[in-house]
Protein backbone atom coordinates (compact mmCIF):
# COMPACT_ATOMS: atom_id res chain seq x y z
CA UNK A 1 0.00 0.00 0.00
CA UNK A 2 2.86 2.32 0.92
CA UNK A 3 4.60 1.56 -2.39
CA UNK A 4 1.38 2.11 -4.33
CA UNK A 5 0.85 5.55 -2.78
CA UNK A 6 4.44 6.49 -3.55
CA UNK A 7 4.10 5.41 -7.21
CA UNK A 8 0.80 7.31 -7.54
CA UNK A 9 2.42 10.47 -6.10
CA UNK A 10 5.39 10.11 -8.46
CA UNK A 11 3.14 9.68 -11.49
CA UNK A 12 1.11 12.78 -10.51
CA UNK A 13 4.31 14.81 -10.08
CA UNK A 14 5.90 13.45 -13.25
CA UNK A 15 2.94 14.42 -15.45
CA UNK A 16 2.55 17.91 -13.96
CA UNK A 17 6.28 18.76 -13.86
CA UNK A 18 6.73 17.60 -17.47
CA UNK A 19 3.80 19.82 -18.50
CA UNK A 20 5.32 22.74 -16.56
CA UNK A 21 8.76 22.33 -18.19
CA UNK A 22 7.09 21.91 -21.59
CA UNK A 23 4.66 24.82 -21.48
CA UNK A 24 6.04 27.31 -18.92
CA UNK A 25 9.78 26.82 -19.47
CA UNK A 26 9.20 26.33 -23.23
CA UNK A 27 11.51 23.31 -23.52
CA UNK A 28 9.24 21.36 -25.86
CA UNK A 29 7.52 18.04 -25.15
CA UNK A 30 10.40 15.73 -26.10
CA UNK A 31 13.08 17.41 -23.95
CA UNK A 32 10.67 17.87 -21.03
CA UNK A 33 9.85 14.17 -20.91
CA UNK A 34 13.27 12.79 -21.88
CA UNK A 35 15.47 15.07 -19.76
CA UNK A 36 13.42 14.65 -16.58
CA UNK A 37 13.30 10.87 -17.13
CA UNK A 38 17.06 10.87 -17.76
CA UNK A 39 17.64 12.57 -14.39
CA UNK A 40 15.35 10.14 -12.51
CA UNK A 41 16.60 7.09 -14.45
CA UNK A 42 20.27 8.05 -13.90
CA UNK A 43 19.74 8.42 -10.15
CA UNK A 44 18.32 4.91 -9.79
CA UNK A 45 20.89 3.47 -12.23
CA UNK A 46 23.86 4.83 -10.30
CA UNK A 47 22.33 4.49 -6.79
CA UNK A 48 20.29 1.28 -6.94
CA UNK A 49 20.66 0.54 -3.22
CA UNK A 50 18.90 3.66 -1.99
CA UNK A 51 15.43 2.07 -2.00
CA UNK A 52 13.49 -1.17 -2.09
CA UNK A 53 14.39 -3.14 -5.31
CA UNK A 54 10.74 -3.05 -6.45
CA UNK A 55 10.70 0.75 -6.26
CA UNK A 56 14.14 1.07 -7.87
CA UNK A 57 12.75 -0.89 -10.84
CA UNK A 58 9.28 0.71 -10.93
CA UNK A 59 9.89 4.43 -10.20
CA UNK A 60 11.85 5.22 -13.42
CA UNK A 61 9.29 3.31 -15.54
CA UNK A 62 6.31 5.01 -13.87
CA UNK A 63 8.08 8.37 -14.16
CA UNK A 64 8.82 8.15 -17.91
CA UNK A 65 5.32 6.77 -18.64
CA UNK A 66 3.53 9.51 -16.68
CA UNK A 67 5.78 12.09 -18.32
CA UNK A 68 4.18 11.12 -21.66
CA UNK A 69 0.86 12.35 -20.24
CA UNK A 70 2.57 15.67 -19.44
CA UNK A 71 3.63 16.00 -23.09
CA UNK A 72 0.04 17.03 -23.89
CA UNK A 73 -0.41 20.30 -25.73
CA UNK A 74 -1.94 23.19 -23.73
CA UNK A 75 -4.34 23.57 -26.69
CA UNK A 76 -6.01 20.32 -25.57
CA UNK A 77 -5.60 20.44 -21.80
CA UNK A 78 -4.17 23.12 -19.52
CA UNK A 79 -5.39 22.08 -16.07
CA UNK A 80 -2.56 20.82 -13.88
CA UNK A 81 -5.08 18.86 -11.78
CA UNK A 82 -6.47 16.97 -14.78
CA UNK A 83 -2.97 16.31 -16.11
CA UNK A 84 -2.01 14.96 -12.69
CA UNK A 85 -5.13 12.76 -12.67
CA UNK A 86 -4.05 11.51 -16.11
CA UNK A 87 -0.70 10.59 -14.56
CA UNK A 88 -2.45 8.68 -11.75
CA UNK A 89 -4.65 6.85 -14.28
CA UNK A 90 -1.49 5.92 -16.17
CA UNK A 91 -0.01 4.50 -12.95
CA UNK A 92 -3.12 2.35 -12.33
CA UNK A 93 -3.08 1.04 -15.92
CA UNK A 94 0.66 0.38 -15.76
CA UNK A 95 0.32 -1.61 -12.52
CA UNK A 96 -2.34 -3.81 -14.16
CA UNK A 97 -0.88 -4.04 -17.67
CA UNK A 98 -1.41 -7.47 -19.16
CA UNK A 99 1.52 -9.89 -18.91
CA UNK A 100 0.87 -10.62 -22.57
CA UNK A 101 2.30 -7.21 -23.54
CA UNK A 102 5.23 -7.40 -21.14
CA UNK A 103 8.37 -6.14 -22.86
CA UNK A 104 6.54 -4.55 -25.80
CA UNK A 105 8.13 -1.20 -26.68
CA UNK A 106 5.56 1.59 -26.69
CA UNK A 107 3.28 -0.07 -24.12
CA UNK A 108 3.94 2.80 -21.70
CA UNK A 109 3.01 5.32 -24.37
CA UNK A 110 -0.18 3.41 -25.15
CA UNK A 111 -1.14 3.43 -21.46
CA UNK A 112 -0.37 7.16 -21.30
CA UNK A 113 -2.46 7.87 -24.42
CA UNK A 114 -5.43 5.91 -23.01
CA UNK A 115 -5.17 7.77 -19.67
CA UNK A 116 -4.97 11.12 -21.40
CA UNK A 117 -7.85 10.38 -23.79
CA UNK A 118 -9.98 9.41 -20.77
CA UNK A 119 -9.08 12.66 -18.97
CA UNK A 120 -9.74 14.72 -22.11
CA UNK A 121 -13.37 13.57 -21.94
CA UNK A 122 -13.89 15.37 -18.60
CA UNK A 123 -14.04 18.91 -20.10
CA UNK A 124 -16.38 17.54 -22.83
CA UNK A 125 -18.74 16.03 -20.23
CA UNK A 126 -18.54 19.28 -18.22
CA UNK A 127 -19.47 21.31 -21.29
CA UNK A 128 -22.45 19.04 -22.02
CA UNK A 129 -23.63 19.33 -18.40
CA UNK A 130 -23.60 23.13 -18.72
CA UNK A 131 -25.81 22.75 -21.78
CA UNK A 132 -28.13 20.43 -19.85
CA UNK A 133 -28.36 22.99 -17.04
CA UNK A 134 -29.13 25.61 -19.68
CA UNK A 135 -31.93 23.41 -21.00
CA UNK A 136 -33.32 23.03 -17.44
CA UNK A 137 -33.30 26.83 -16.99
CA UNK A 138 -35.04 27.25 -20.35
CA UNK A 139 -37.64 24.68 -19.36
CA UNK A 140 -38.23 26.53 -16.06
CA UNK A 141 -38.77 29.78 -17.97
CA UNK A 142 -41.10 28.18 -20.50
CA UNK A 143 -43.04 25.98 -18.08
CA UNK A 144 -43.17 27.90 -14.79
CA UNK A 145 -44.36 25.77 -11.85
CA UNK A 146 -48.00 26.38 -11.12
CA UNK A 147 -48.63 27.82 -14.59
CA UNK A 148 -51.92 26.42 -15.81
CA UNK A 149 -52.42 25.79 -19.48
Amino acid sequence: MHNLLLLITISFLSATITFYVNEELKQGPVRSSALLSLIVGSYFYFFPDTMDPYLVKSIPVVFIGASFVGMVSARLLSSYLLIGIGGILFCIIYLHTSNFFNGYGGALGTSAAISLLAVLSIPIIGKNRKLTNGMIQLRRVLFKPGKKS
Binding site: Q27, G28, P29, V30, R31, S33, A34, L35, S37, L38, V40, G41, S42, Y45, P60, V61, F63, I64, F68, V69, G70, M71, V72, S73, R75, L76, G86, L89, I92, I93, H96, T97, S98, N99, F100, F101, N102, G103, Y104, G105, G106, A107, L108, G109, T110, S111, A112, A113, I114, S115, L116, L117, A118, V119, L120, S121, I122, I124, I125
Partner: protein, 188 residues
Protein backbone atom coordinates in the same frame (compact mmCIF):
# COMPACT_ATOMS: atom_id res chain seq x y z
CA UNK B 1 -15.00 9.89 -50.08
CA UNK B 2 -11.55 11.30 -50.87
CA UNK B 3 -8.34 9.33 -50.37
CA UNK B 4 -7.27 11.66 -47.53
CA UNK B 5 -10.50 11.15 -45.65
CA UNK B 6 -10.30 7.37 -46.10
CA UNK B 7 -6.69 7.29 -44.86
CA UNK B 8 -7.68 9.48 -41.90
CA UNK B 9 -10.63 7.28 -40.89
CA UNK B 10 -8.71 4.03 -41.38
CA UNK B 11 -5.88 5.33 -39.20
CA UNK B 12 -8.21 6.49 -36.40
CA UNK B 13 -10.06 3.14 -36.40
CA UNK B 14 -6.74 1.26 -36.49
CA UNK B 15 -5.43 3.14 -33.45
CA UNK B 16 -8.73 2.58 -31.64
CA UNK B 17 -8.40 -1.17 -32.30
CA UNK B 18 -4.80 -1.21 -31.02
CA UNK B 19 -5.88 0.57 -27.82
CA UNK B 20 -8.92 -1.71 -27.48
CA UNK B 21 -6.70 -4.81 -27.72
CA UNK B 22 -4.42 -3.35 -25.05
CA UNK B 23 -7.31 -2.56 -22.71
CA UNK B 24 -9.03 -5.89 -23.39
CA UNK B 25 -5.86 -7.75 -22.38
CA UNK B 26 -5.92 -5.93 -19.01
CA UNK B 27 -9.66 -6.60 -18.62
CA UNK B 28 -9.13 -10.27 -19.43
CA UNK B 29 -6.52 -10.66 -16.70
CA UNK B 30 -8.42 -8.66 -14.07
CA UNK B 31 -11.29 -11.13 -13.74
CA UNK B 32 -10.62 -11.56 -10.01
CA UNK B 33 -10.62 -7.83 -9.36
CA UNK B 34 -14.07 -6.32 -10.03
CA UNK B 35 -12.82 -2.84 -9.09
CA UNK B 36 -10.19 -2.88 -11.84
CA UNK B 37 -12.68 -4.41 -14.30
CA UNK B 38 -15.19 -1.61 -13.50
CA UNK B 39 -12.45 1.01 -13.81
CA UNK B 40 -11.47 -0.36 -17.24
CA UNK B 41 -15.12 -0.18 -18.41
CA UNK B 42 -15.40 3.46 -17.22
CA UNK B 43 -12.07 4.24 -18.88
CA UNK B 44 -13.30 2.77 -22.19
CA UNK B 45 -16.47 4.90 -22.08
CA UNK B 46 -14.45 8.07 -21.37
CA UNK B 47 -11.98 7.29 -24.17
CA UNK B 48 -14.87 6.69 -26.59
CA UNK B 49 -16.39 10.08 -25.64
CA UNK B 50 -13.07 11.76 -26.52
CA UNK B 51 -12.85 9.82 -29.79
CA UNK B 52 -16.37 10.88 -30.77
CA UNK B 53 -16.57 14.43 -29.40
CA UNK B 54 -13.01 15.57 -28.70
CA UNK B 55 -11.18 18.02 -30.94
CA UNK B 56 -7.99 15.97 -31.05
CA UNK B 57 -7.44 16.06 -34.81
CA UNK B 58 -6.70 18.97 -37.12
CA UNK B 59 -9.35 19.60 -39.77
CA UNK B 60 -7.00 19.28 -42.74
CA UNK B 61 -5.18 16.03 -43.38
CA UNK B 62 -1.44 16.13 -43.97
CA UNK B 63 1.35 13.59 -44.33
CA UNK B 64 4.62 13.61 -42.44
CA UNK B 65 7.65 13.87 -44.72
CA UNK B 66 9.42 10.58 -45.45
CA UNK B 67 12.79 12.11 -44.56
CA UNK B 68 11.45 12.86 -41.06
CA UNK B 69 10.09 9.34 -40.57
CA UNK B 70 13.47 7.93 -41.72
CA UNK B 71 14.89 8.96 -38.34
CA UNK B 72 12.67 6.46 -36.50
CA UNK B 73 15.02 3.50 -37.15
CA UNK B 74 17.98 5.65 -36.04
CA UNK B 75 16.27 6.33 -32.68
CA UNK B 76 15.15 2.71 -32.37
CA UNK B 77 18.52 1.12 -33.14
CA UNK B 78 20.41 3.54 -30.85
CA UNK B 79 17.95 2.97 -28.00
CA UNK B 80 18.05 -0.83 -28.52
CA UNK B 81 21.86 -0.75 -28.54
CA UNK B 82 22.01 1.27 -25.31
CA UNK B 83 19.30 -0.88 -23.72
CA UNK B 84 20.63 -4.35 -24.45
CA UNK B 85 24.27 -4.10 -25.51
CA UNK B 86 25.36 -1.39 -23.06
CA UNK B 87 22.83 -2.69 -20.47
CA UNK B 88 21.50 0.78 -19.58
CA UNK B 89 17.92 -0.47 -19.30
CA UNK B 90 14.87 0.74 -21.28
CA UNK B 91 14.18 4.01 -19.42
CA UNK B 92 17.72 5.36 -19.44
CA UNK B 93 18.21 4.34 -23.09
CA UNK B 94 15.05 6.02 -24.38
CA UNK B 95 15.60 9.09 -22.18
CA UNK B 96 19.21 9.49 -23.37
CA UNK B 97 18.19 9.20 -27.04
CA UNK B 98 15.26 11.60 -26.51
CA UNK B 99 17.38 14.18 -24.67
CA UNK B 100 20.11 14.16 -27.31
CA UNK B 101 17.50 14.34 -30.10
CA UNK B 102 15.82 17.35 -28.45
CA UNK B 103 19.01 19.37 -28.95
CA UNK B 104 19.24 18.66 -32.71
CA UNK B 105 17.23 21.80 -33.66
CA UNK B 106 19.98 23.88 -31.98
CA UNK B 107 22.39 22.91 -34.79
CA UNK B 108 20.52 25.30 -37.07
CA UNK B 109 17.66 27.12 -35.37
CA UNK B 110 16.06 28.34 -38.60
CA UNK B 111 15.75 24.79 -40.00
CA UNK B 112 12.15 23.57 -40.12
CA UNK B 113 13.38 20.05 -40.90
CA UNK B 114 15.58 19.79 -37.78
CA UNK B 115 12.68 20.95 -35.57
CA UNK B 116 10.67 17.90 -36.62
CA UNK B 117 13.34 15.31 -35.84
CA UNK B 118 13.17 15.04 -32.00
CA UNK B 119 9.62 13.61 -32.05
CA UNK B 120 10.49 11.03 -34.75
CA UNK B 121 13.70 9.96 -32.96
CA UNK B 122 11.94 9.77 -29.55
CA UNK B 123 9.20 7.69 -31.20
CA UNK B 124 11.88 5.31 -32.49
CA UNK B 125 13.49 5.17 -29.04
CA UNK B 126 10.30 3.59 -27.66
CA UNK B 127 10.69 0.68 -30.10
CA UNK B 128 14.20 0.16 -28.72
CA UNK B 129 12.72 -0.19 -25.21
CA UNK B 130 11.38 -3.63 -26.19
CA UNK B 131 12.77 -6.61 -24.30
CA UNK B 132 14.80 -9.28 -26.13
CA UNK B 133 11.92 -11.70 -25.53
CA UNK B 134 9.81 -9.56 -27.88
CA UNK B 135 12.48 -8.03 -30.12
CA UNK B 136 15.23 -10.63 -30.45
CA UNK B 137 17.42 -8.84 -33.02
CA UNK B 138 18.12 -5.69 -35.00
CA UNK B 139 16.04 -7.01 -37.93
CA UNK B 140 12.93 -6.95 -35.70
CA UNK B 141 13.72 -3.36 -34.66
CA UNK B 142 14.17 -2.26 -38.30
CA UNK B 143 10.89 -3.96 -39.33
CA UNK B 144 8.98 -2.41 -36.42
CA UNK B 145 10.54 0.97 -37.28
CA UNK B 146 9.28 0.62 -40.86
CA UNK B 147 5.67 0.04 -39.74
CA UNK B 148 5.90 2.83 -37.16
CA UNK B 149 7.30 5.17 -39.82
CA UNK B 150 4.34 4.41 -42.12
CA UNK B 151 1.94 5.18 -39.25
CA UNK B 152 3.80 8.41 -38.40
CA UNK B 153 3.62 9.55 -42.05
CA UNK B 154 -0.15 8.92 -42.10
CA UNK B 155 -0.86 10.62 -38.77
CA UNK B 156 0.78 14.05 -38.98
CA UNK B 157 -2.37 16.00 -38.11
CA UNK B 158 -4.14 13.26 -36.16
CA UNK B 159 -4.00 13.05 -32.36
CA UNK B 160 -2.03 16.30 -32.55
CA UNK B 161 -0.63 17.24 -29.15
CA UNK B 162 -1.92 14.08 -27.45
CA UNK B 163 0.75 12.77 -25.07
CA UNK B 164 1.45 9.10 -25.66
CA UNK B 165 0.76 9.30 -29.40
CA UNK B 166 4.39 8.49 -30.29
CA UNK B 167 4.40 5.57 -27.85
CA UNK B 168 1.16 4.23 -29.30
CA UNK B 169 2.62 4.36 -32.82
CA UNK B 170 5.73 2.53 -31.60
CA UNK B 171 3.55 -0.04 -29.83
CA UNK B 172 1.51 -0.58 -33.00
CA UNK B 173 4.73 -1.09 -34.99
CA UNK B 174 6.01 -3.63 -32.46
CA UNK B 175 2.65 -5.48 -32.33
CA UNK B 176 2.45 -5.74 -36.15
CA UNK B 177 6.04 -7.01 -36.36
CA UNK B 178 5.46 -9.53 -33.54
CA UNK B 179 2.38 -10.78 -35.36
CA UNK B 180 4.38 -11.04 -38.59
CA UNK B 181 7.13 -13.00 -36.82
CA UNK B 182 4.47 -15.24 -35.28
CA UNK B 183 2.97 -15.94 -38.71
CA UNK B 184 6.39 -16.67 -40.23
CA UNK B 185 7.26 -18.99 -37.32
CA UNK B 186 3.91 -20.77 -37.67
CA UNK B 187 3.88 -21.32 -41.41
CA UNK B 188 7.54 -21.29 -42.52
Amino acid sequence: MSWNKTARNVFIIFLLIIQAIFVFAIFNESAESPVIAALIIILCILVLITYLKGEIHHEDHAYEHVFVALWIPAGALTSFYLNHLLKLGPVLSAATVGTLASYLPHIKKSSHYLRQLPAAIYCGAFIGMSSTGVAPDFLFIITASFFTAVLLILSKNLFAGVGGKLGTLAFAGVVITSFLYFLIASYA
